[in-house]
Amino acid sequence: MTDPLPTATAQPPRPRGFLAAWLLSTDHKRIGIMYLAALTLVLAAGAALGVLMRLSAVAPGALLNARHYNQTFTLHGVLMIFLFVIPGIPVSFGNFLLPLLIGARDVAFPRLNRLSWWLYLTGAAVILSSLFLKGGPLDTGWTFYAPYSVQTRTQVSFAVVGVFILGFSSILTGLNFVTTIHRLRAPGMGWLRMPLFPWTLYATGWVQLLATPVLAVTLVFIVLERFFGVGFFDPAKGGDPILFEHLFWIYSHPAVYIMVLPAMGVVSEIVPTFARRTVYGYRAVAFSAVCIAAVGYLVWGHHMFTSGMSDTSRTLFSLLTFLVAVPSGVKIFNWVATLHGGSIRTDAPMLFALTFIFLFSIGGLTGLIIGSLAPNLHVHATYFIVGHFHYVMFGGAGMAFLAALHYWFPKITGRLYDERAARAGWVLLFVGFNLLYFTMFVLGLQGMPRRYFDYPARYFPGHMTATVGSWILALGLAVVLGNLLRALRRGAPAPADPWGGTTLEWTTSSPPPPENFEEIPVVTRGPYAYGEGARR
């Protein structure tokens, strides 16, 4: 078998088993690839659970009883959120590409990077172990809301400890990336010559550093409540469950930006390459990432409009929520302006990137609807919310993940994939996605509550439509991933720069050599230099 992946670990040559050579490697590229494999597996498993839920919804009770339904959507949520979208693009593509994009040989702390990866594996193992331990998989929803999470007999403690460990992994990755960007940019690469993906990784790193500890302490509280009955969230002892919601969302709203900022970074790399134009308003796009990260801290309360809050704070949180739309809008307009007048090529990465822009816009606009007080009261905890967050997280972060997968696949593996299969998969994904989740908006407006395993007959047509959508979507996912897996073995060798990209990763071979560059590049101009003299 030919090994299409980089082989050297950059360690002194010591005879090692295949597994050890990977697991003990501190090479950011290997770590990135291992994360990538793990994430793809989680995505597939999580999607299978999603399809299972949809199946159950067309014949409530036949497949899953109420308890099992609760456990399924919880596991689906926990897998997708904590093991897929939050680590997501930064740990996989960020790890592989950040040093390449800024012209460095590795991240600032290679061994810490390896530790993050091990912590990710440990966290995943601990969460999965909760499936087999006494009490069975947890049924709290991925939000672990108190007081239920304190009372339920399902295996909450293990899952929560697992998420705590994942949080540690996330913090260390953020810390590593922020330090890397501060200290290891290639000579000549000032901040304003840095490509946009590193910019978003930088903003994300800060969000990881500033938000994750709050989740960590909240999770510690849950475990302490369960084991020692401390009483912080128990009204009988003077505690307050609403405080749990505050602490939880102080992390989990910014976490949305941990998911979506890097996705925006990926799109900002792909759009100029396939439009053959410099990004319109580079500075605005770069700074808006930082703005989104900053304002994103102040809006957690919009998850709690119905939980009991003063009218003043509700109005304030609603207003601030609208404010986040501004920098996000800046990005969208700048991408569109970049496309305008460009000579656009629609290869697979570009198709997924454009899909991101389209679906994320719908997710964002519906976000404004539920960020306003009156509609929120109407659609709170209905399928409208489920539709909204899938448009943002799957249509946004998920599609960007697939875009990145296609864009950098030749660089990472040194192979080319079949473009026609990629497009076919994309069509299926696009159709299935909208059939599934747009229907959820409709169901939600009609009043179908989320997290219910049964419903009155009048919602049946909607559920049936969504379920058919889930089949098409799953098929699309299978085609897309199958195509790439096949290319791993059979793909034609990739050149160093298959797309005509201008950022530094395309200047080195595919896959890159152990230390990335023969010689550390010296940067003399900004990224995306298509403008002056280059063709339009």
Binding site: D106, A108, P110, L175, V214, T218, F232, E515
Partner: protein, 205 residues
């Protein structure tokens, strides 16, 4: 350690390590602030109960432990300065003293906890649940916050122990003391957190 991937990256290691440590301490600070937030909310809600419960704490023991921890921070600072100047033995002495004082702090804390638990004052205990909400939450916060702090002290001792071994074997020295400096930063941080915990629990009566 031996050279690892990205020799170029490692060259930036010493300065980068310090930046990394500061960022890490920032996350630690936020971790504690979650708990401080709860303290603030509950304190505002049950001022009288907090007042009453704090009377249970011995200010004398708290003060003594504060002094122990402050002295340990001083020892740590001296140990770093000594290593920087190449006085390895003095540095080892300072590090040893820091660890010893850390252990004293933990011992004092343990007796304090044991005394309270002996009187039936612990979370969810029948004795405590008979008291009013403010007191229940005060003691809940007391155990959680001092507990988390104690875990940090223990981790700090572990890290200093590692630095001690590396120093003794000559792996840390005048040209290479980032690890000890970072251990010191962590230790001072633990100290600072205690400086906040002390008034919150011992001096609020």
């Amino acid at each position: 350690m031996t050279a690892v991937a990205g020799a170029g990256a490692q060259a930036h290691g010493e300065g980068g390590a310090k930046l990394g440590m500061w960022l890490f301490l920032l996350t630690e600070l936020l971790f504690f602030s979650g708990a401080f937030l709860l303290y603030a909310v509950f304190r505002a809600r049950y001022a009288a109960g907090f007042h009453a419960a704090a009377a249970d704490e011995s200010t004398a023991i708290g003060t003594a432990n504060t002094l122990v921890l402050l002295t340990s921070s001083l020892c740590m600072a001296l140990a770093i300065a000594a290593l920087r100047q190449g006085r390895v033995r003095a540095s080892l002495l300072g590090q040893g003293a820091t660890m010893l004082l850390g252990l004293v702090f933990l011992a004092v804390k343990a007796t304090e906890w044991a005394g309270k638990i002996g009187r039936g004052l612990y979370p969810d205990s029948p004795v405590l649940l008979r008291r009013e909400h403010g007191e229940v939450l005060f003691f809940g916060l007391y155990y959680v916050l001092t507990g988390i702090h104690a875990v940090h002290v223990a981790i700090g001792i572990g890290v200093i122990a590692a630095a001690f071994l590396l120093t003794a074997r000559g792996r840390l020295g005048p040209g290479r003391y980032a690890l000890l400096e970072n251990a010191g930063l962590f230790w001072h941080f633990v100290d600072v957190v205690w400086i906040y915990l002390f008034p919150l629990f011992y001096l609020v009566t």
